[in-house]
């Protein structure tokens, strides 16, 4: 097995809006994921990427973003729910890659001001993930009432999220390991 190499699981903060509460969630998730053994991570803020809006897809690739995704074993998306959907700018950014995603795991953390923790944005993202060639896991992160989840210093106020994230990470890491093994060792034409 190729597990001597650490897994690389970047986190994508999927909104550029001013006053975004998802940033605190992304920083918390990044901090927790960075504690895992044999896992490397990086926080990708799509606000720091710049894609033209008069074209789309691979023609407007950001080389550094694509290189990071290519190196990844899995992705973790932190995504706010806007009118039951995902931010259009996130979709625009994700669509700039394709081959970089194939047979890699993805986990999604939904964020909402209401009580449902972004469940609807997660459901809306699932078919997009599939079409990109990513493999979704069956644990999600659901951050409800996000405006009350952190204090002014960004410290999480509800410790239950630590345990919930632990379960989420275990599934994501398992899937990342299995898919890395598959990408590197299991041929599509093997019978």
């Amino acid at each position: 097995m190729a597990e001597a190499r650490p897994l690389f699981i970047p986190i994508i903060l999927g909104t550029t809006r001013q006053g975004r509460m998802s940033e605190q969630v992304a920083r918390f998730v990044f901090g927790e994921l960075s504690k895992r053994k044999n896992v490397e991570s990086e926080l990708i803020d799509i606000r720091e990427l710049s894609f033209p809006t008069n074209d789309a897809g691979e023609t407007i690739k950001d080389p550094k973003f694509s290189e990071t995704i290519a190196r990844a074993d899995a992705l973790l998306l932190v995504v706010p729910e806007y009118n039951h959907g995902y931010p259009g700018i996130l979709k625009h950014a994700l669509d700039t890659n394709l081959k970089e995603y194939i047979h890699k795991a993805v986990g999604i953390c939904g964020v909402s001001a209401g009580p449902f923790g972004g469940t609807r944005v997660i459901e809306n993202l699932l078919p997009v993930m599939r079409e990109l060639g990513l493999v979704t896991i069956f644990w999600d992160g659901n951050f409800s009432s996000v405006q009350s989840l952190f204090d002014d210093s960004g410290t999480l106020l509800d410790a239950a999220y630590v345990r919930r994230l632990d379960k989420f990470f275990k599934e994501l890491i398992w899937m990342a390991k299995v898919l890395r093994h598959g990408r590197e060792n299991v041929g599509i034409e093997d019978e």
Binding site: A2, K99, E100, I102, H103, G133, R180, R183, E184, N185
Partner: protein, 61 residues
């Protein structure tokens, strides 16, 4: 096809693992003569190196 022509990792020099195919439908617009008529686009192959983990692609023959 890929059974006979394994991709070689340009970094490690080892045979890469062919693990996925995807239809690129957009090629019908750019290269209408080269599409697979049965599948409606060009088949892209995905090969990953077991040493360094990098993935490369190529169009299927």
């Amino acid at each position: 096809m890929a059974e006979n022509t394994k991709m070689i990792c340009p970094t490690c020099g080892v045979e890469m693992n062919f693990h996925a195919e995807k239809v690129d439908y957009a090629t019908e617009l750019a290269e209408p003569d080269s599409i697979d008529q049965d599948l409606g686009g060009i088949i892209e192959e995905f090969h990953t190196c077991s040493e360094c983990g990098q993935t490369l692609t190529r169009s299927a023959d």
